[in-house]
Amino acid sequence: QQPVQSPQAVILREGEDAVINCSSSKALYSVHWYRQKHGEAPVFLMILLKGGEQKGHDKISASFNEKKQQSSLYLTASQLSYSGTYFCGTEGGSGGGADGLTFGKGTHLIIQP
């Protein structure tokens, strides 16, 4: 089942913070985050494995709550280059690659100067 992302869209001023949420109705093995700019390929941001870990690099971080089957992506002090559509992709069950990733519908992020 497709994970639900919220919000669907958000408009920020440069330097503001954003949180994008991803929620699933099924048990998750891993959560992936990608960013896609219009007309381009999705670009990998990070993976979180079950275990409730949190990851981050630069000003982008994410958390994964296995029990709640939820993940959140945190963008701090947003830059113009952060604009794009953010997708979470979930891997369910016990992993193994079957079914690939199930992606949400995406969150459109617009950063204004």
């Binding site: 497709q2 093995y29 891993s30 992936h32 990608y34 381009e40 390929a41 999705p42 670009v43 990998f44 993976i47 494995l49 997708f87 992709g89 891997e91 016990s94 992993g95 193994g96 690659g97 079957a98 079914d99 690939g100 990733l101 199930t102 992606f103 949400g104 519908k105 995406g106």
Partner: protein, 118 residues
């Protein structure tokens, strides 16, 4: 090094025609995935290869869709008797072998092939 490449980038087909979409993954990447992305939607899983073995094809929407990876590198997605509902961007992604815990590793996507069926 070179990333994932796909060809053609754009394809216009008349309804009923057959099409073949090619994917060249990153060298050494064992896993290869095909996704279909409709306008304004997230990518939707079609099929998965590990080397030349097609381990999962549960996402292929009908028996008109067929994928192969005969030598474990280049892959081709073929759509027979195309229909208008097949219009979408077809994305290919490759990754290293599944991680120690069996989880899917980070996927590197190609630019996609935009298929328009008229």
């Amino acid at each position: 090094g070179a990333g994932v490449s796909q060809s053609p980038r754009y394809k216009v087909a008349k309804r009923g025609q057959d099409v073949a979409l090619r994917c060249d993954p990153i060298s050494g990447h064992v896993s290869l995935f095909w996704y279909q992305q409709a306008l304004g939607q997230g990518p939707e899983f079609l099929t998965y290869f590990q080397n030349e073995a097609q381990l999962d094809k549960s996402g292929l929407p009908s028996d008109r869709f067929f994928a192969e990876r005969p030598e474990g590198s280049v892959s081709t997605l073929k759509i027979q008797r195309t229909q208008q509902e097949d219009s979408a961007v077809y994305l290919c992604a490759s990754s290293l072998k599944l991680g120690v815990q069996g989880a899917i590793r980070e996927q590197y996507f190609g630019p996609g092939t935009r298929l328009t069926v008229t």
